[in-house]
Symmetry: none
Amino acid sequence: MSETPRSLPAKTRRKQLIKATIKCIAKNGLSGTTMADVTKLAGLSLGIVNLHFETKEKLLVETLRFITDEYRNGLDKIFFNENLSTEEKIRAHVAFDFSRAIADRNKLAVWFAFWGETKSRPTYHSICADYIDEIAQNLTQLFSILKNEQNYQSVDPELVCTCYTALSDGLWLALLLTPKSFKADDAKTIAMHYLKTQFPNNFTMT
Amino acid sequence: MSETPRSLPAKTRRKQLIKATIKCIAKNGLSGTTMADVTKLAGLSLGIVNLHFETKEKLLVETLRFITDEYRNGLDKIFFNENLSTEEKIRAHVAFDFSRAIADRNKLAVWFAFWGETKSRPTYHSICADYIDEIAQNLTQLFSILKNEQNYQSVDPELVCTCYTALSDGLWLALLLTPKSFKADDAKTIAMHYLKTQFPNNFTMT
Amino acid sequence: MSETPRSLPAKTRRKQLIKATIKCIAKNGLSGTTMADVTKLAGLSLGIVNLHFETKEKLLVETLRFITDEYRNGLDKIFFNENLSTEEKIRAHVAFDFSRAIADRNKLAVWFAFWGETKSRPTYHSICADYIDEIAQNLTQLFSILKNEQNYQSVDPELVCTCYTALSDGLWLALLLTPKSFKADDAKTIAMHYLKTQFPNNFTMT
Amino acid sequence: MSETPRSLPAKTRRKQLIKATIKCIAKNGLSGTTMADVTKLAGLSLGIVNLHFETKEKLLVETLRFITDEYRNGLDKIFFNENLSTEEKIRAHVAFDFSRAIADRNKLAVWFAFWGETKSRPTYHSICADYIDEIAQNLTQLFSILKNEQNYQSVDPELVCTCYTALSDGLWLALLLTPKSFKADDAKTIAMHYLKTQFPNNFTMT
DNA sequence: AATGAATGAGAATTCATTCAT
DNA sequence: AATGAATGAATTCTCATTCAT
């Protein structure tokens, strides 16, 4: 194992601790995650969390914010990419949803761990509510543009967005619960299958 | 409120405690649920959990099993109801998924609380895996029969089952996360919308 | 050692813990007093403080209140005793100030431990301010009555009260700091010596 | 505020830290005084205490010694001042006891903070015992000289010294506990009032 | 069957001290 | 001489479990 330098920029340390926290939550659950576990996994001392995050709760919040930002930023890059057509953007969105970085079982476990506590923790809820809204607006807009571009009469962009979002959440759950029999590619196939029912002239090949 | 008798059949006490546990998990999250909270909410003494469930862990497992059984039994009643047509069975399935009893926010919070810990707790996982499989088989069969009855050529019953299941899981999450703007009826509409894309000649009216 | 019963009335347990706390503060200082020390000295388990006092801070406050109440109640019994003359009441007051129960080195250490933190802890301050005022009023009244009864022209009862109070506080400090060379009886002699200067016709014999 | 030079004579740094310690103890109590607080208040780095005092304990001891020396040196200057008469020396002593420099609430808080820990800390005790003795000897001698000079028959110089010392300690406590209603001038008045009872021909005017 | 005071292992947090820069 | 990130022992607090009544 390579020696970590004794002193590092605060940002690096925070990221190091957040990554260890993700692994820990995936391994032990939110309730089973102790500061001792996290710091040991990070190869650091017990007191360091307090130094960089003050409390365990704040570390958890920052961890949720980290995966939230990662997801949002990834989607924003697609949404604001001027080189992609609308269809390509939607395809890229789906591909991103079930990519290595996002549909990673550790991160999925973290998502669901926080969602499971959302009702009782206003802070978790507000962090989630925040990004859900923004992404839904962008995706609805994409469906709306595609509808107009390609003259799909009966499509309801908002409904399709809600349906697609729920579907991808449910597919993530399936990836988390039945990792043996259900893979990211299966999930992507199903997501595309739904989009094809709405936009039959698009989304035809893989 | 009427006085609880000091001595009651064990089964009644167990149900009483499980119901208190559901409320507690919804209110405080899985990690924030203590035996003191549960027993106080049930109006019983601290020691009673040990008497009826031995450990907290076993109470939690029984709680998960309780909502799991409730869901499975409800669906079984529909599936084995000889008075219903296949379409009616599927309609009833959807109606049940978003009924008062099932799409109750307390129970949804419990589902997601356990799912969030699933990766780290083999027991929770095996309880979930168990019922998921059985229900998927039944639902796939219904789609398969409908396909043959009504001559839907291109429908893949297994894929539709997986897609519907993921969709309803995702809709439950939406009900949990955004209860203000998204109601059970909205969820049901979206679920039916998906089924209509697969079986356009069925599921036409509300 | 006699076995303590496993379960006791809450009041008894609280007193038991407060007494152990007094000993601990005297032995280790306020900052050196740990819950582990207190509970070990009381022959009880670590968790019991939380059960009866919630936090360490509350145990400390109750401890201060305990010695405060003991002092105030003792003086009240003297002040409201109808069988004593005014001079007898003042004599009893002095005797009480330097009695076994009050001029006990453990308790003195506790008094000064709290006084030393008074400036930084509003709660400690308010508990002290409370009783100081009440006692000063009563003592001033005694001096006032004695002045009138015995026709002492130049005595200022309020000033004598403040002076006596400061003197007895200082004598307590001497008892705490130089226990070898300075005893309760010496302190009492000095206190009486001061009173004799103000009321030469009273307070003549021991 | 002017920049502190990065490198300064050790003595200056030590005094700087001791002054910050006094403020900190007054503000947060002895138990609430951390190295982080002290060094921040001094505008210096956390590691500097170790450099100049080795341990926190040694810094505290030096702080106690600092206020102790300040008090003792002030009194020595009076005692060995050949230009003052005995009465003037005693008057100066009282004036010093309740001067700005000594009856400062920060320093009083420090005195009582240490006295509160004296019973459990032999080091603190020996520092205190040391100066108490020396001052008592000097003051007794002054009273003794005054007695002989002015022919006070019944005065017991040692008793008067003990009484005055206790009184001034108690007055300091009053200044600490009830700063609003009790000021240094009030304390001085009471101290002089006591001395007048012993030496009625002296100490007549302010 | 039921109670709830007591227990004590386990977890978060604090903070004096260290040490590479 | 000075810095401040990092350490980890010590302490408080939590809470599932026990057990005498």
